[in-house]
Symmetry: C2
Subunit: 184 residues, 2 copies
């Protein structure tokens, strides 16, 4: 029953995002958790039998509050060029984020691919699942309580319901929960 | 990041149940699917790094209709002894079911443990997760449509929401769907 050596690797899509804590472009606690969990519990020492597909979805306006903020004179939008600058910055930021994960895969010898998409994370992740057809999807979950969920919703819950492949939602340890949910 | 050799194996709980098709004690299509998927996509050739925890939950009265049926004279309940007989038969049936999975694990050299519990499958599975603390849970899913779900509910959906570990719900292939949902 177990796949013979030499067969196609198990393709695991891992959705990763940035931390909203200061210090860009750090990965969020929950996406680092999902990534580490995948390596420690699934891939283990069998690095040749797996391939990680690392997807980062950028929300186009997620940083408006900072960019328009008074403490950052560079980010006043006065012309189309300002928006292009922003997009360029977002892109660089996303690349740095993916670099973190790709470097890790490279260090331990697991094959990977990484790419960036723009849009609503939950919709884009499900769309990419359709397109890429991974064997399963791993998403970090912030483990919000029922009260918070009403307002915030969760990407992981949406993917569990709508992604066209098995989905593993990895909850953060309670000890890793930031005091302010925004600092995630 | 990948676990070093010699560390504790990844403990995967797999919930298995019987087919409601004739020909007991065959495993249901969905639980065989979940089991095969776990071996093919997760364990692969790395048999020493995983341990399967096979749980079968028996519903006490799931076979009443057959046992009380007119075509089976043995199963008229006239005394407490009749109920004990039924329980004994259920137990034997459950053991045969688990034997199927344990034999498979043995053939490919994956460590396993198997046990039977009585009760409401979704509640019992979540309770056992708390007790046994697997690294994750794999459950087969019959992939019911929204209309069927209203009446039937699904064990997998409940576990995804309530089990205290990551849960992988493995949907059956469309080609494996029986014409009558009861024949599952």
């Amino acid at each position: 029953m177990a796949a013979a050596e030499g067969t196609a690797p198990t393709r695991i899509m891992v959705a990763v995002n940035e931390s909203t804590l200061k210090g860009y472009p750090h990965a969020s606690i929950s996406s680092r958790g999902a990534f580490d969990w995948t390596l420690n519990k699934i891939v283990r020492t069998n690095t040749s039998d797996f391939k990680l597909l690392l997807l980062h979805v950028q929300v186009p306006d997620e940083d408006d509050s900072e960019l328009i903020g008074f403490d950052d004179v560079d980010s006043i939008f006065a012309s189309p060029e300002d928006f292009r600058t922003m997009k360029r910055r977002d892109k660089i930021r996303g690349l740095h984020l993916l670099e973190y994960f790709v470097n890790h895969c490279h260090e331990i010898g697991v094959a990977c691919e990484a790419w960036i998409k723009i849009g609503d994370p939950k919709e884009v992740i499900c769309h990419e699942v359709n397109h890429v057809q991974p064997d399963f999807l791993v998403v970090g979950s912030r483990g919000l309580g029922p009260f918070q969920k009403v307002f915030v919703g969760t990407v992981s819950e949406f993917c569990v319901k709508h992604a066209d492949c098995p989905v593993m939602a990895i909850k953060r340890n309670a000890s890793q929960t930031p005091q302010d949910p925004v600092d995630d």
